[in-house]
């Protein structure tokens, strides 16, 4: 449970943030320079806001009216910095246990549990200078986890890593987010990471928080194009794996009444997964087309049409109990006479999805993720 309602300024930027989250993983999403790090530094106590309140799990960390401003060391917020900030003169093990011997935080998780969670067994005796970027971030995450925090802030932990390193560390983040046991505030400018990891999404744009809410709802909103980035926009679907067709290598996923066929999905039947479908990978047809290679033809109802100034329009379709976003041209909207409430067939090409997934996680059109 995180509640933030603050104003303040850092340098020339005015920050005015208001959001709340029930727990789990909350993503703070915004472009570079939107004020993400400034906001997390205020929550962590490294920068003092001017007005407002911050509370975590019902405990007030900052309240300008009541003159409450807990110092950094008393906030019990584990902070994973973008640049890891490991102590270079200490071994990995001494870094991990720093909160125990220097911060007097004796409670919380056991060292070997965290070491196992993050795969740090072989690194314990090494110095930070000998670690790769991804290893450094894993140690930094472990160090923060071992400080018995009530909230874990991760400030773009993947931002300084190349693609290969990101792919190394993402499975650990999956595990961490699934079983941290404490709320996590995950800062990112990558919509893929956000959709993959979080339950709640807070959008930050020019120092303001125009919207926050459940991640699927937020990604389905077409009015936040500027903040979420138009090119990568897409909806988040939650589904259950039904069965895998070994002959064709296709996994059948139930997304609330409709079935999609996803190639090469490493998931077991019965597993709950998340799929992100980019709006530009979705086409619409008025009738189920015949003689078509596209395997995912779902029937849906148009919920909204937002015409933009450019050549495109964003269409939101209800499929089963979920929403899929499609980006088509404005010309097609007129040609097909699309209107709200109209029945359409939603076409998603499986192959595009598959190739992107194999290429890199960051440019995924979809992925799977265990739902909690």
């Amino acid at each position: 449970m995180i509640e933030v309602d603050i104003t303040g300024h850092v340098g020339r930027m005015d920050l005015q943030a208001q959001f709340s989250s029930e727990g789990g993983v909350t993503s703070l999403f915004g472009q570079s320079g939107a004020g993400k790090t400034s906001l997390t530094n205020m929550i962590a106590g490294l920068i003092q806001p001017e007005t407002g309140q911050i509370s975590v799990n019902g405990e007030t960390l900052f309240d300008a009216d009541k003159n409450i401003n807990l110092p950094v060391q008393a906030r019990r917020i584990g902070h994973v910095f973008q640049d890891a900030r490991l102590f270079p003169h200490l071994s990995v093990k001494s870094n991990l246990t720093y909160a125990r011997w220097a911060g007097r935080r004796q409670q919380g998780r056991a060292l070997n549990e965290v070491v196992e969670l993050l795969g740090l067994e072989d690194l314990l005796e090494r110095k930070p200078g000998t670690l790769s970027g991804g290893e450094k971030q894993r140690v930094a995450i472990g160090r923060a986890l071992l400080s018995d925090p009530r909230l874990l802030i991760m400030d773009e932990p993947l931002a300084n890593l190349d693609q290969a390193r990101r792919n190394d560390i993402l499975p650990y983040l999956d595990r961490l987010c699934a079983d941290a046991g404490i709320p996590i505030l995950y800062v990112s400018h990558s919509i893929e990471e956000v959709a993959r990891l979080s339950q709640t999404l807070v959008i930050l744009s020019d120092g303001k928080t125009p919207a926050f809410g459940p991640v699927a709802d937020m990604l389905a909103r077409t009015d936040l194009g500027r903040a979420t980035g138009r090119h990568e926009a897409g909806a988040l679907l939650e589904g259950t794996v039904k069965w895998e067709d070994p002959e064709w290598g296709l996994t059948h996923v139930d997304i609330g009444g409709e079935v999609m066929q996803i190639p090469d999905l490493p998931a077991e039947p019965g597993e709950a997964i998340r799929l992100r479908i980019r709006a530009r990978d979705v086409s619409l047809a008025l009738t189920p087309p015949e003689g078509l290679s596209i395997r995912n033809t779902l029937s849906g109802t148009i919920r909204s049409i937002s015409r933009e100034t450019g050549p495109y329009a964003e269409i939101l379709c209800a499929v089963g109990d979920q929403l899929i976003r499609a980006r088509i041209t404005r010309a097609s909207v007129v040609d097909l006479q699309l209107s709200i409430g109209k029945q359409v067939t939603v076409l998603i090409k499986s192959v595009a999805i598959d190739r992107r997934q194999r290429a890199s996680i960051n440019s995924l059109a979809q992925w799977q993720y265990p739902r909690r």
Binding site: A44, P71, V72, Q73, H89, A102, R104, K127, G129, T130
Partner: protein
């Protein structure tokens, strides 16, 4: 071969290298003065270097100038200022004598004070530079892990500045050992009390029969300085290995 040594041993030659009691005295006095000066000045220098490196405050420039003053002023002037302030009748000197019974005038403690003041800028400079080289954000990380400010400083910043502190200490110790102008002006040149190696060497050069003594003192001073440099080099290498981990 009739049993005589190949090189005849000249007794005068042996005596030539043998230190006279007064010279031993000067050597021990110098080591005492320099060590005490360093022990007292070093913690203060670390504090001042940290303030100068990490904080902006009114008077920052003045403090910086004050620290460096002994480096640019003629040592005799520094010695004279010390005499005025810490002498028997000086404001600080008489206060310290009446309250704590500490006297600096014409005493080895005065020599240590002069050495400490002269060495101070040489201590502060490298220590300040190494504080500036340590990312202050590491202390933020330490605090986020529950460490109080002082603990964060002692466990993170201070260990990382050790090579700089060591460098400063060696430089300061060497300066304190060789201090001349301020010492002779402040506490004079009293055998056994304030006559350090440098002063003894000066005295020897002023005496018509002092050439041999001057030569011996020169050799001692060189050996001590050389040993200090070697020791610091070994220590610095060891520290770098412990701190860096990635550079070797």
């Amino acid at each position: 071969m009739n049993g005589r040594p190949l090189v005849p041993v000249d007794r005068a030659y042996v005596n030539f290298l043998e230190l006279q009691p007064a010279e031993w005295q000067a050597l021990f006095l110098t080591l005492k003065v320099a060590s005490v000066a360093l022990l007292v000045a070093l913690p203060l220098a670390i504090l001042v270097a940290y303030l100068l490196a990490r904080f902006k405050f009114p008077g920052h420039g003045i403090l910086n100038a004050l620290v460096h003053l002994p480096l640019v002023m003629p040592p005799v002037v520094t010695g004279y200022v010390l005499l005025l302030a810490f002498g028997r009748n000086g404001p600080i000197g008489s206060f310290l004598r009446e309250t704590f019974g500490i006297s600096f005038a014409f005493n080895w403690t005065g020599a240590a004070l002069a050495a400490g003041v002269m060495a101070f800028p040489l201590l502060v400079r490298p220590i300040r530079l190494s504080f500036e080289a340590v990312d202050p954000k590491l202390e933020e990380a330490a605090k986020s892990l529950g460490a109080h400010r002082l603990v964060a400083f002692l466990t993170v910043t201070l260990p990382l500045t050790l090579p700089g502190i060591l460098g400063g200490a060696i430089l300061g110790f060497a300066k304190a050992m060789g201090e001349f102008g301020a010492t002779i002006t402040f506490v004079s040149n009293i055998p056994g009390d304030t006559r350090t190696l440098a002063l003894a060497l000066y005295t020897a050069t002023q005496s018509p029969s002092g050439d041999l003594a001057a030569f011996r003192l020169t050799i001692i001073a060189t050996i001590v300085a050389f040993a200090a440099l070697i020791a610091s080099e070994i220590l610095a290498r060891h520290l770098r290995k412990r701190l860096g981990g990635d550079h070797d």
